[in-house]
Symmetry: D2
Subunit: 232 residues, 4 copies
Amino acid sequence: MQDKYAQVKLISKPENMLKTIYTACRTCYSADSPLNIYECDSAQDNEKMLKLISKVVSSGHYSTIEHIQVSFAISNISRACSHQLVRHRHMSFSQKSQRYVKEKGQFDYLTPDTIDANPELKAKFDEFMSKVSEFYLELTQNGIPAEDARSVLPNAASTSMVASLNLRELIHLANLRLCTRAQKEIRILVKRMCDALISEEPWLKDYLVPKCERFGFCDEDKSCGRMPVKGN
Amino acid sequence: MQDKYAQVKLISKPENMLKTIYTACRTCYSADSPLNIYECDSAQDNEKMLKLISKVVSSGHYSTIEHIQVSFAISNISRACSHQLVRHRHMSFSQKSQRYVKEKGQFDYLTPDTIDANPELKAKFDEFMSKVSEFYLELTQNGIPAEDARSVLPNAASTSMVASLNLRELIHLANLRLCTRAQKEIRILVKRMCDALISEEPWLKDYLVPKCERFGFCDEDKSCGRMPVKGN
Amino acid sequence: MQDKYAQVKLISKPENMLKTIYTACRTCYSADSPLNIYECDSAQDNEKMLKLISKVVSSGHYSTIEHIQVSFAISNISRACSHQLVRHRHMSFSQKSQRYVKEKGQFDYLTPDTIDANPELKAKFDEFMSKVSEFYLELTQNGIPAEDARSVLPNAASTSMVASLNLRELIHLANLRLCTRAQKEIRILVKRMCDALISEEPWLKDYLVPKCERFGFCDEDKSCGRMPVKGN
Amino acid sequence: MQDKYAQVKLISKPENMLKTIYTACRTCYSADSPLNIYECDSAQDNEKMLKLISKVVSSGHYSTIEHIQVSFAISNISRACSHQLVRHRHMSFSQKSQRYVKEKGQFDYLTPDTIDANPELKAKFDEFMSKVSEFYLELTQNGIPAEDARSVLPNAASTSMVASLNLRELIHLANLRLCTRAQKEIRILVKRMCDALISEEPWLKDYLVPKCERFGFCDEDKSCGRMPVKGN
């Protein structure tokens, strides 16, 4: 069953993910050509490839995993959440446009948990959203173009996008956005992006973690207490 | 007098802008060291420097102007506009946070021209914004944190930011966002950024133009007619 | 038969290239979710997808093709050529290291055509390279580490790498490096990268061209005459 | 007295460095506009500004220091060293071209310390360099263009450049290249870039350090022993 949070589907990843990373790692340190490395016996043996890749990535040499880019179809996130996501400048985005896509009826929106938990506020929230929708429709029916009528649409309004990023940026994204200091909605979104990939590439599990697990300490001003604070 | 659109102030630019670009241009083609070039006679002569710089930039060799980065203080733009601006991934942004800054009374907002032009809709728009503000305050007074209460804030709500970019990216930004296909609010914002810089560095005037002026044709699907359409 | 220039093999590209771009293009303009678009009937029909993609890309909206990244195994290029290639900062590289890979005998090298064409100079060039090799080996045999011994290796020395880039950057690379102003070796390298991809994705043919074909004019200071010079 | 290593001069930095960062930091968390923050009393008080900036940067929120870009004139580095430096893709470079600048006599070059320390090898190294120079001149005198004659020039040959980067990237560069695993020449170059800036902006001293000082551990496969190895 679909819950209220982000729907995420991994729609594209490279053929030969491991072989490509393995070839990249070995090219740096080998007298052999990348073509030969790509076709050698070791490059047919997942276990051997994973052993080398783990060693390289654990040493922080992330450039070798930039060769792998993955794409996600994302829907059911709020514009508040997408505004946070698009600040990651190493990612590529194609987002549903509020300029070019006119809402025809009640727009979709996401209710934050703190409001969901309060039935009275939740009822007012839903009523508010239907009032917004009515005013939006009144504006467009009076000739206001969608790009201007959207002025009244709230941060809660849903959006959807195709988002792509390489594995180095995905690790960075996980490091920042799986931290409990990140807002809940984007934390769930990024968790689902990671899980979708981990289910096909389980070896990535150790790297797609909050930054405190990577560093062994927390460097945030206010810590959640999961890891010791830096300098203490 | 301040109008309703973006307030823009150029708050930082490098010392020695022309000398730095001039030194960069000549370093590529000279047997001399950049330190000597920087201190040579020509680097004291604005006219000579500008002549060389114009020749290099007109040939599309923009890497030499990446050495110059400028910073703008921007306020009075809508969140709709900032969402467009932050998609420029070569820029650096520090934006007012709706998670950490709680609105205390009526939030500021920007009314689109098409609504401003219709007194009846305009009155409804203002009334709507005051209703949104009331509901936002009700939410925060009932213990909903700002990061969740902002769900109800509209795209029209104002934001402010410090934004920095190098001259190559500024030319790109101008090429795209001074085009009549861009939305009016961002067109005005980018125009003001360009004007603020041109008033101190007039030689940049020829480069901070819509892309059709740079290319001599329009490549948009729907053209405004200012320039011939590509392929016609 | 292998000639003296770059060996290039396309070793990785995404599954579902067209479907991913198509989904990205339509997501911007559609009320439908990217998941539904991805699974809809049109996304099974190459011809329909290509028609939309061509329209979007021809309008210069290149962000939709950033979702596709491809990887090449490259060998048999000179360090002079790789020094030019790695200046493309949107690409990802894993290059054979001269610090960590010690040459054991005569290193491979690339002879420029202008020298190849002159038998007397060519003989001297080969003799020179064998002298360099001898001195390199003398240095390493006397305990000089590879990272210092490589000081004597020439720009002609061969290197190899895995290089990845998205389609937007590949178009940019082609625009610049297929220009006759680019040096012959990198022109051939980039041509082979483009051809390797075009043989699997023929629709890209129209975009992987020198910049003069894209713009309809030449903006270089010295033009080869193939296209009219800008402003003339 | 000039030693054999990199000559570095800081040729450009923004006016108002501290005020710009301070304004950026406070804009994120303040109801006030960046223009007012920029002109407020605190923004005239270096000590207050530094206190806030230190808190923000120590928490790893580096985006606020991207607003500051600095430019260096660099000469007297080997092409081996520049090849390493240009791999930093967030930097901007204008490098002396071996295609367009023809050597007229003995080219400058850098002798590695391990060779300098061995008088016999050092003598052979110098003799080798003069042979290379002779052959280069023979090639160019026989009509071989500079872009092809440079094939024989070694990694030791000197180059010069103008290089620019923002403070976030400078911290990253220091983290990687001040590590003892980096090659000596680039370690000295980056140290001199940092020192040139620290002499004008002493507050940056704590951040321009090798990564082990930032993280409190070493994540390299082979550690120099200065800090405990991660996981041990």
